[in-house]
Symmetry: D2
Subunit: 331 residues, 4 copies
């Protein structure tokens, strides 16, 4: 049984708290959040969970085996370093930072971490995406040639969030960058087109839709199609096309019900609304993988290297979308 | 090139005229219909087609190689016998008669026919149904165990038609009885439940929906689900379930378009509206099979035996639905 | 928090134990089973669960609020009566008995039960089936005309089980009879065709496939298609066809992955293998409904009347399949 | 009835000859091709069709109302100008030329054409693509934001064809460029990534797969994903995503049959193999639109402007793929 503290009682903190509470090998020990009574309110929902304002309490608590960092992005590196220094295993949310400069500044400390560190690229653990990846690896479609990732949120976050999010590529596409790396490995070239559909987001200095093309060292190409809103719900699909076939991971609906009438036939329901529902299994399996690695003393399936690589792609996409130029990544 | 006369300028006569006109190996020579200017109006739509009031003109015409009989059902046997006597090849619509007594009365003459005679069980020629049948025959799903045929018309015919149709089982289910025989061979037991959903059809003495269960000599069972109306169009599906797998023939829509929005996702269009559109390919392939048999001198793929067997099932189903008893068929 | 004892540590007992353990409002207090160490082995998997050989311990235990009866069918009525006499709320598995005579013999005692009793017709709680039912009730497809239930197990149970199961209609179709009643209400007429595909099951005196037609008092007709084996997994579908449209509940696969290659396109995975996986949500929601009714003091959604009605349909179907006659049910 | 000559008896010439022969308002008058007996062989398949080696015979023939130009691309402009000069209506295959310089050189002559000229962007006439376009225009999905076009051939053409084809963007993507313009109007920015999967095509100096991103003046973005081969057949899909919903045009199979067994469920057949089958309806409707415009004296739905715009996009994509830079298109 792993005793886990959750740092940050925001939306993602709620997801992790619930996932821990429902996991047979994990206990929610502590929730930390400095804002109002957020930590207390979240902790009170789970038997035996305590709360604190200061994240330091989690790092200092000898009964805490591991921490999940879901604090605001600028705190990810400080919390990660503090937790690791205290000997805790860490599962940290994406992105690692808003700026590669922050990563570079902490490079020496990051390199010195010896406790297990995993990054929350939950989509690697989605059963459908993982099954596609496994089938590709097993050679079911021959050499992978083209990957298409479609990722659209049901609705844009509040403007206040947009302004501190680091922009669509660091905040939203970061998952898809990791998915591209999960399937294709190293990326050598990035091209991004940013779109401004909602003027409020444009005024906030961000894009709300984008198409990104990534060329991999292998010669394969990934296309990522993002949109901050989608009328039908949380549109999360993936298509891996290889020399001998193709694999598709489709959207998920609450039930399998289809309706036919005089206007439509075999109409399905809107997609599951957002990440909590859509990726519930993925969060659970991500947590299982983390626990397993911590308990077995093995390297977690995603690490700082993956987090940095995804952030580097996000920065390249941001530059490409801003300048209209293709960005090449050095080795 | 086969010169063909069409007897009967009603709805099915139009279907056959159009199919002949578009067929590279057939010419529409003559249309016969005693009612008003029906024959003339239909013939005038096709270059080179003549019209006549009296079907005898077709039988007497030495330039006519074959006739397609689409006259009212009570005339099927008389027209069939006259055409055959005149040496014409015949493609006759279903059912062969409204009553087995009529078949029995003409048995000697029917047995004496030596020209090629085929019956219009067009669904055997539907590319999807035929592909399912071929895959079953090829052993793709192992021994066939259960067949489910769903057949719903978009809307009931006019009451005037209902009253002379011979009833739902002879008029509508007759196709599905042939489909059951096409897949399962000899049927030994019939059970039918008739439903009265529309009071006007009940007053006309008929059912407008039914569920029929057929046990085959092989041990397999077929279920036929019929309805005279269907909100989504012409609902024509089939499911063959075997020991090692199952095959499905799905409905057809005008295009492949799917719509997703806030209410529905991947919604398809209503089904093709009725038999003319839905079975256009089947009518064409049926005609090809007829022409091929006539020209090659081989036995057409469906014959009087099939027409009689389907009518016998229709009579059994009628009796079962009326009496509430299961009807067993002798050998 | 409801303290629940599970009577019977067989396959269904495992399902309920796991469902209770994972339910936020239920505690697994006790597992009872007289056979070997079955109870002990099952109880040992869950923290705080005790075990006993004798079911009486559950009935006598003041800390047990409710029992779930998953013992062999002949014990259902005795266990039900003993539990109710002890003041326990009861969730009892289907069928209530193997024979209506047993129900009649216990009629006075059954009628006198005053504690909450619910029967385990789990499919009413399947999210897809329940959504179809709710949409029908809401008038989404107009008057319900025809219901088709397809229910095929992945593989037949061992012959030893078959011989004590009461036959396919009491053991397997019983769920589908309840589904038919759930949608159509009172049934007035039953016709069943039994099939013998596997000689071993025929020798054991049972059918291994069947097609049942049920006429409802409303005029609607339900068709149930059963098979003890299905190559593609646990085939569980439902189609409700009404005057203004139709609703379909489709099979469930482990993931949404589709494969296309030179042989197949958009091929999905085999269905979830069996009831534990397929109806995991249904068991959970069934338990929630039970707990809710017990705690609120309301009548559970299914009761002895439903259990008796389903058994009566099973007996009628058995008789119909054996005699080849239609069975009419009195009011 | 329009008397039509087909210039060029290659693959596309065969498509047009067959389409004309089957069209109720068109007659195939003449086939011209200088190579061997190609023209004669093709013409001999159709009653009343003559053949000639020299295309001039078509232009000079007073009985020819219109010509369809399916000659090698470098001859498109010369044949187009000669036909127009002779007063013929023209349906010309894509691309208009291999090089914008050739268009520029003929600009004065092209501008002076006064006979009806249409270009063979057949996909605009595909019933599914056209239905999506019509639904977008009708506002069914709100403002169009992102268009995704997936277009993969079943297998690469012979290397000899590749070397004279003008490259993948002029030869294959040209259709998708027109589709993008059909949906999005003017394009302002082009980015292309070329892929080399088959070394033989790389040696021939071409790409065999590509991903192209197009930004439209409207702010919408189109993504085109191309591949010269696809294991499952001719992969032709389209997805239009708007503010209020999305529309999808899916692949087409020969039948609606689905197969389920122990390995796959609901598996469909491979896609229709290539353009002749997949776009048979589109070629027919394209011809109808051409005939209708010629006979009504209206402007054909596609013209030289569309052909030039598509070629300009192809050149921009070629340059982008070669240089790795984004290409901006002037007004």
């Amino acid at each position: 049984m792993l005793n886990i503290a959750v740092i940050g009682a925001g939306r993602i903190g709620h997801v992790h708290a619930r996932t821990i509470a429902g996991h047979p090998q994990a206990d929610l020990a502590l929730v930390c959040d400095p804002v109002g009574d957020a930590a207390e309110k979240l902790a009170s929902q789970y038997d035996g969970a305590r709360s604190a304002k200061d994240a330091e309490e989690a790092f200092a608590d000898p009964q805490v085996d591991a921490v999940i960092i879901g604090s605001p992005t600028p705190l990810h590196i400080p919390h990660l370093l503090a937790a690791a220094k205290a000997g805790k295993a860490v599962l940290c949310e994406k992105p690692i930072a808003l700026d590669m400069a922050d990563v570079e500044a902490a490079r020496t400390d990051l390199d010195a971490i010896s406790t297990p560190v995993m990054f929350g690229f939950n989509r690697r653990f989605d059963p459908s995406f993982a099954a596609v990846r496994a089938a590709v690896e097993a050679g079911r479609i021959g050499a992978l040639e083209q990957l298409t990732v479609i990722s659209r949120d049901p609705a844009a976050p509040p403007i206040e969030y947009v302004t501190v999010s680091g922009g669509i590529f660091r905040d939203m596409t970061i998952h898809d960058f990791d998915t591209a790396r999960f399937f294709l490995g190293d990326i050598t070239e990035v091209h991004a087109v940013g779109q401004n559909l909602d003027p409020a987001i444009e005024e906030a200095g961000d894009f709300d839709a984008a198409v990104v093309t990534l060329r991999a060292a292998s010669g394969a190409v990934a296309t990522i199609i993002n949109n901050r809103h989608c009328a039908s719900g949380y549109d999360q699909r993936l298509e891996a096309s290889g020399h001998d076939g193709a694999l598709f991971a489709e959207n998920i609906r609450p039930t399998t019900v289809r309706l036919s009438n005089a206007e439509v036939t075999d109409a399905q329901e809107p997609y599951l609304d957002f990440f909590l529902e859509r990726y519930a299994d993925a969060y659970r399996l991500e947590l299982s993988a983390f626990i397993e690695a911590v308990e077995a003393g093995t390297t977690p399936p995603t690490g700082i290297g993956d987090a940095v690589a995804a952030l580097r792609l996000a920065e390249a996409a941001t530059r490409s979308a801003r300048t209209g130029e293709v960005v090449r990544l050095g080795s």
